[in-house]
């Protein structure tokens, strides 16, 4: 009888402990809409059609990357459900898709939505609904305002930041230069131009000519003619891939050889330089924060090897020479890191908290020395770039990793 009583107490004690521990485990798991024990729903908006459809490949890369993570067991045991919609680069459509994702699909967050107009359109909505608008796919400078928009965070170095680096370089290396700028007449081009002028500061008179073009123009040759006539000896090309290639080609045809700087957006070897012709691109300058798939120097780099393996297994259609593919991989990897850091607390507030606590995180595809850092007052994950010069058939990095703060 005595033994039965002991057994009885032991059984009760055991079950109470079990209950207590399981309920405390339950108590540690916190979910907002879109997160459960088995699944995390991530929303995304990309231009799969329309004028910016070339960037749709970013969404495809990210979908493939999340497939890879799921095949490897998911994040803390949860599978990613990646829901990506097309907005055709139209802000009203982006608003519709964002609302659909948040209110109909009930995603936990929207990751890497692309395009400044689309992101500006949904920013207020996302912040009022308190849904993270994470790692937006645009370099506009305004995504780093944690006080006013605590739920919106950028990822890539901002256009103004990049432009300031070029300005710094020019002031140092060619202080008497006459600069001609060809820029796309939209938020991307205008942001850059502002960064250039801010970076040149008192010396912004170095800019002797600026020509804006519209993406509806078939060819920008007329603009180049005008810029050459201004007598400039530095040519800055704030252009998207197609027009960057046209500019490189036209400059060669005209036998005009200024110091040619091209924006990082169009520095892709496969997407721009190769079609334009390697022989025409010698000596062009640009800046980078990620490794280039076309550059053989990274062939034995462990990070790039993982990237190439990923392509072979999960995204064979992906072109390693396309900068957008490399971009998608890096952004997706950052997203996975943040979700891993969340553990079992998958509330939206915690997602933002973890996103704002990245310290020296290095995705596989960033240049050595470039790291991701965020804090409660710093919503710009990547702030560093290194300049590079095109030689032979690839980019050669030179100089130090430069930080793009305005203060210096």
């Amino acid at each position: 009888m005595f033994a039965t009583r002991k057994l009885w107490i032991a059984a009760v004690a055991a079950s109470v402990t079990a209950l207590a521990s399981s309920s405390s485990a339950l108590a540690q798991k916190k979910y907002d809409a879109g997160a459960t024990d088995t699944e995390i729903k991530i929303g995304n908006i990309m231009p799969y059609s329309g004028p910016a459809s070339a960037y749709g490949v970013i969404g495809k890369t990210e979908a493939a990357y999340f497939n890879k993570i799921n095949a490897e067991g998911g994040i803390n045991g949860r599978k990613i459900n990646f829901i990506s919609y097309d907005d055709g680069y139209s802000p009203p459509k982006a608003v519709e898709q964002a609302r659909k994702l948040v209110e109909s699909d009930e995603v936990l967050l929207i990751f890497n939505p692309l395009g400044t107009p689309s992101n500006t359109a949904i920013e207020k909505y996302m912040n009022s609904k308190k849904v993270p608008q994470l790692f937006v796919a645009t370099g506009a400078t305004k995504w780093n305002e944690p006080k006013d928009f605590p739920w919106t965070m950028g990822w890539q170095p901002s256009y103004q930041a990049e432009a300031r680096i070029y300005a710094k370089y020019l002031i140092k290396e060619k202080p008497d230069a006459k600069i001609a700028v060809l820029y796309q007449n939209d938020d991307f081009g205008k942001d850059y131009l502002k960064g250039l002028k801010d970076g040149l500061g008192a010396k912004s008179s170095m800019i002797s000519a600026e020509e804006g073009y519209e993406t509806s123009e078939p060819s920008i040759d007329g603009h180049i003619v005008k810029l050459k006539a201004s007598g400039a000896d530095v040519f800055i090309s704030v252009t998207t891939p197609k027009f960057a290639a046209q500019a490189i080609k036209k400059l060669a045809e005209m036998n005009w050889t200024p110091l040619h700087i091209v924006s990082n957006v169009s520095a892709s070897v496969g997407g721009v330089i190769k079609p334009a012709g390697f022989e025409n691109a010698q000596g062009i300058l640009s800046a980078a924060y990620a490794k280039d798939g076309a550059d053989a120097q990274w062939d034995s780099d462990p990070g790039m090897k993982k990237f190439l393996e990923f392509l072979t297994r999960y995204y064979p259609d992906g072109n390693k020479l396309d900068g957008s593919v490399v971009y998608g991989y890096g952004a997706a990897q950052t997203m996975v890191k943040v979700l891993q850091m969340c553990g079992d607390d998958l509330t939206r507030a915690n997602v933002m908290k973890q996103a704002a606590s990245l310290k020296s995180f290095t995705p596989d595809t960033l240049l050595p020395g470039v790291t991701i850092n965020t804090s409660a007052t710093d919503f710009a994950p990547i702030k560093q770039l290194q300049m590079m010069r095109f030689k032979g058939e690839k980019w050669e990095l030179f100089g130090d990793i430069m930080s793009s703060e305005l203060s210096n």
Partner: protein, 346 residues
């Protein structure tokens, strides 16, 4: 290429008989009842989509008046839509005007704009007019981005618009029955009210003397002018009215989306509105909503079927529609009417 055009040949645009110009009274009431009742049962997001349905329906209605009513092609409605949207946004954000008041202003501004555009358009017809309106639509985003206007328009960045809450009176009445009206629901009913008003106005316009003048011009311009109709006045009036309604639609759209930017008002919008008119049935006002539903929901359906080929799927669906019902939803309605008549006779 016809160097010699036979004016007595089949006119480019079909006349819609006056009887068939609207739905019967019974059907209209049923549709209206549905439109009023359903927001109580669905989520805010669907209400938002329905609001956009009404907004684009208004724009297609305006195009129906212009093309189906007075026979003038227009591929440039997106320009008037944009002007209306920006007028509302600028007045709301820079002048602090109440959102409801901005709509008549937007409508008026666009009416004048359309009327003025109609002047040079008088000398153009058919494909030339299409090109001129196409040019207007292409020019509008670039005008909106212009540096001169940046202070008001926000330039390439656009303007963010504040969404209004339901007015105090409505809120307090509803609180008696423990109901709360969300911003989306309020905006929907507000849009519905305006849509109904404009629809009734348009139907009456097309049934009036002016409407008959429009249609006379559409069917045979020379004969109309020979009969004493002031062709120039009515043609420009048609442009003005159509632009005005599109402007109101644009203003409502700006409030619903809470954002205006040049990228949202490209030639793609003008082409979509045109497609909406064709699918709904040219000149058939109730078809405007069917056309609007087509241009909002079919792209989503196409995307659901295949993300990579969403454009192709959309094109195929469009082809199917125009093969099956070349005259648009009006044809479907006519067939349905026909069947109902036969049943009644039994």
């Amino acid at each position: 290429m016809s160097a010699v055009q036979e004016v007595t040949a089949v006119p480019a645009l079909e006349a819609v008989p006056r009887r068939a110009m609207t739905l019967g009274a019974g059907t209209s009431l049923i549709v209206l009842a549905l439109l009023i009742a359903f927001p109580l049962f669905v989520k805010n997001f669907i209400i938002f989509q329905m609001t956009m349905l009404l907004v684009y329906g208004l724009a297609v209605l305006a195009l129906n008046i212009l093309t189906g009513g007075s026979g003038q092609f227009s591929l440039g409605q997106s320009a008037f839509y944009a002007v209306g949207a920006y007028t509302s946004a600028i007045l709301m954000e820079h002048a602090g005007m109440n959102y409801a008041l901005t709509l008549p202003v937007a409508g008026l501004v666009c009416f004048v704009f359309g009327f003025l555009f109609g002047q040079p358009a008088l000398r153009l017809s058919g494909v030339y007019l299409a090109l001129a309106t196409f040019a207007l639509a292409t020019a509008m985003p670039q005008l909106l981005k212009l540096g001169y206007f940046e202070h008001w328009t926000g330039g390439v960045q656009g303007l963010v618009v504040t969404k209004p809450d339901a007015p105090e009176m409505v809120q307090s009445v509803l609180s008696w029955v423990h109901l709360k009206m969300s911003q989306d629901m309020w905006l929907y009913y507000f849009t519905l009210l305006i849509t109904m008003a404009i629809y009734i106005f348009s139907v009456n316009l097309l049934r009036s003397r002016s409407g008959r003048a429009f249609m006379a011009i559409r069917d045979n311009e020379i004969a109309a002018s020979a009969m004493g109709i002031n062709v120039a006045l009515y043609k420009t009036l048609a442009f003005g009215v159509s632009a005005g309604i599109t402007g109101v639609a644009g203003g409502l759209g700006a409030i619903a989306v809470q954002f205006v930017a040049p990228d949202g008002y490209t030639i793609t919008l003008a082409i979509s509105l045109f497609l909406g008119m064709v699918v709904g049935g040219v000149g058939w006002l109730p078809g405007s909503i069917v056309g609007s539903a087509f241009i909002i929901f079919v792209p989503n359906i196409a995307e659901g079927i295949s993300k990579g080929l969403s454009g192709a799927v959309f094109g195929v669906i469009l082809f199917l529609v125009i093969f099956l019902v070349p005259h648009g939803a009006r044809q479907v309605a006519m067939v349905a009417q026909h069947l109902l008549d036969r049943l009644k006779r039994r």
